[in-house]
């Protein structure tokens, strides 16, 4: 049974490898020709060769993708494809450019159909002779009752909870296993936490020598601009830029990205075709370098860039922009880069929801938006809470996006104010020269995040259904 599929996967593998090497060779030759070419006429065929090479490479990647997914499906189905699945895979193979496979599968399907036509019993026979060994739900004629087999949540092969090492009640060796981690955590997690809080209350801490001029509370009033330092230094930027910028990022990007991610996840979950590929596309922003993509966005939002060209505007978004205009690309970038993780979490949550709820809603003829708000969202509430908490914490700590987009704390370079500064940016900027102020800003952030997370937990108690 599996033979035709095995043959076509071997053909495919050979084909994909040939395509890969041919594509690489063509790209190489084409680029060499491009480099050697002098005139416009000579460049054209060289560029054509490169293009063909790239297309070949793309096709070979398609082949590899196809091969892996097809093999997985074969293993899952144990080689038993019915005619419907074979048609689906035949068409998919055509789409992915796997002509040999498509021909093999479709011919096999044709044979199978012919066999079925021959073996098929008459309609009347089928009605009575049909026997289903296991019923998911139906009418049990023998015992005269309706049978419904409900899926349980913990259908696992092994009991996995509550297992302990029964043999040893008090195993001192455990501490040896834990020793490296405990030492590292103590040095790089616990001690710094205590020390940072301590520094926040010291006056004029010098990190190189570890000296300071006594304890004080003025660091907090200093960063908030209420009091000046002894040497007359005044801090205006923390209140004017860092706090409002961070607040804006938090209250705008978190709801937008969460709602958008939820909608995308629900849509992705409802479609049949290309689900996996689209899922992968929406995950792409996660596997990028934050600085690199920030630089790309600053090119896209350049005053002579593609956004202004498409919308026929001449707004200055990035360099030389004012504070609130520059927020637009920043927030766009933050939403763009934070969506993939949320979609992934929501999708895994959606796949865990029992289908019966939707069937019940269908029987009640509930409209789609009501299904979304009354079934999906409440059942997804643990995931939504998790996403909200992690993304609020993440948004409070926004830093690399600013560096990537603006290459500094402000839109006007070193000359202007640091008008795009966030709280974390402020901490890093003052780390060296003004360690006490940086530490008190860190404590400030810590308290805000703790309070915020606490409020979210309290507010969620009534609304989250575990």
């Amino acid at each position: 049974m599996q033979k035709p599929f095995r043959i076509c996967s071997i053909i495919d593998l050979v084909k994909a490898l040939v395509e890969l090497f041919a594509g690489l060779a063509l790209v190489l030759v084409g680029s060499l020709m491009l480099a050697a070419a002098g005139t416009q006429e000579e460049r054209l065929p060289a560029a054509g060769i490169v293009l063909i090479g790239v297309i070949l490479l793309a096709i070979s990647f398609c082949s590899f993708y196809w091969l892996s997914s097809f093999k997985k499906e074969m293993r899952r189905k144990d080689g038993n494809f019915d005619t419907k699945l074979m048609l689906k895979y035949g068409i998919l193979a055509v789409i992915f450019g796997q002509m040999p496979t498509a021909v093999v599968i479709l011919i096999e399907r044709h044979h199978r159909r012919l066999e079925q036509m021959r073996d098929r019993p008459s309609a009347a026979n089928e009605l009575y002779a049909e026997e289903r060994p296991s019923y998911a739900s139906g009418y049990d004629a023998e015992n005269k009752r309706i049978v419904r087999v409900l899926p349980t949540r913990n259908t696992k092969a092994y009991q996995t909870r509550g297992i302990e090492d029964i043999g040893s009640k008090n195993n001192w060796k455990g501490w040896i296993y834990l020793a490296p981690v405990i030492i590292l955590v103590a040095i790089f997690l616990i001690y710094p936490l205590v020390n940072t809080i301590f520094i926040a209350f010291t006056d004029n801490y010098k990190y190189a020598s570890g000296t300071f001029d006594g304890m004080t509370l003025t660091n907090f009033t200093y960063i908030l601009g209420l009091t000046d330092k002894a040497n007359g230094a005044h801090e205006a930027y923390f209140v004017r830029y860092a706090i409002p910028n961070t607040f804006l990022v938090v209250i705008i990007t978190v709801p937008i990205s969460t709602i958008l991610a939820l909608l995308i996840a629900v849509a992705l979950n409802s479609i049949k075709w290309f689900q996996k590929i689209l899922q992968t596309i929406f995950f792409l922003p996660y596997v990028t370098n934050a600085i690199a993509v920030g630089m790309v966005f600053s090119v896209i939002f350049d005053d002579k860039g593609v956004i202004n060209f498409l919308f026929h505007s001449d707004t200055v978004w990035i360099f030389g922009a004012n504070q609130y205009t520059a927020m637009v690309p920043l927030m766009f970038y933050i939403v763009w880069s934070s969506i993939p993780f949320k979609i992934l979490i929501f999708l895994s949550g959606l796949q865990g929801i029992d289908k019966q709820y939707y069937q019940a809603a269908q029987i009640d003829a509930a409209p789609r938006w009501k299904v979304l708000t009354r079934v999906t969202v409440p059942l997804l509430s643990p995931q939504i809470l998790y996403i909200l908490i992690t993304s609020f914490i993440g948004a409070w700590k926004e830093y690399t996006s600013v560096v990537g987009l603006f290459n500094g704390p402000g839109t006007r370079g070193k000359a202007g104010d640091p008008n795009m500064e966030t709280i974390v940016y402020y901490i890093y900027e003052n780390l060296n020269e003004n360690t006490s102020a940086a530490a008190s800003a860190a404590v400030f952030l810590f308290v805000i995040i703790l309070a915020f997370t606490g409020i979210q937990f309290l507010a969620s108690k009534k609304r989250v259904h575990y």
Binding site: I166, G174, W175, P180, L193, A292, V296, F309, L310
Partner: protein, 326 residues
Amino acid sequence: MASNNQTTKTYIDFKSVKISDNIVLSLEEAGKTVDAIKRTEKVTRIITTVLTYLFILFLAVIVVFPFYWMIITSLKQNDEIRDTVQTFFPTIVMWSNYVHVFQVFDFTNYMFNTIVVAIFSTLGTLLTTILAAFAFARLKFGGRDAVFAIFLMTMMIPGEMMVISNYITVASFGWLGKGQTRIDAYLAMIVPFWTSVFYIYLLRQNFKQIPNELYLAAKVDGKSDWSFLWKVMVPLAAPTLISITILKFMGTWNSYVWPNLVTNNSDYRLISNGLRSSSFVDIDAGITEYGYQMAATVAVTVPLFLLFIFFRKYIMKGVGRAGIKG
């Protein structure tokens, strides 16, 4: 549907009834034939499917667009990039941008640094994580649960709290300052990240799912805890370990703040720092050459993409469970 005849009661054969075949009649549908209702249902289903695809494809285009723009900008001439009319494909493909970038941007050096730091911090993390997760999941000793609770609580603390003091700690180890050697810089970038509470938590959950019978069988065969850990548990938890490795690698590839703080020679820094601090200014024109800049970003992004293509399953699974970057 059901007959009113009381004497001959008929049962519906549930076997052949599917929910999608059921037609629900509501008040506003009174007077319509079943066929008409079925038809309208079919039409609405097709319309919603089309709308869903349009919505998803529109957003997918937005998601992909920055990557597309990055690649084509990296192949454009500077004049074309700054032209008033933006082109969606380069009129002249400038492979020379890449040649220039590899001369200006010391890609191999930054790449080397990043890979060294990634490998050693990953190895350290794996070792400490495996040992701790084993102790938490399998061994029983006084104070275990208290220590685990403290560990979990530290996950709530923002990393920025720790950076200040860690900076001071690393400085007091002598890894910072004027006479910093390459080894010092590597140590400063590697050692503070040798432990991750989250990965310990993740691996502990995985270890707990390994059935008790295996442990007891190993005990009967006279195996010690140590050899049971390395011969049985680690191979069984390999997928999680691979996920941790890849996420850690991605984290190093992305790390910007800490390497920037603890190195004072730009030769010792990592790839993100190199990318941001390299200047792609054209000397003649005095303005930033976006073509060069984008070629450099492509060079930084491609290795991550390759990693993603080959380990898509592990990355997506790991992120789904882990939910943090690095």
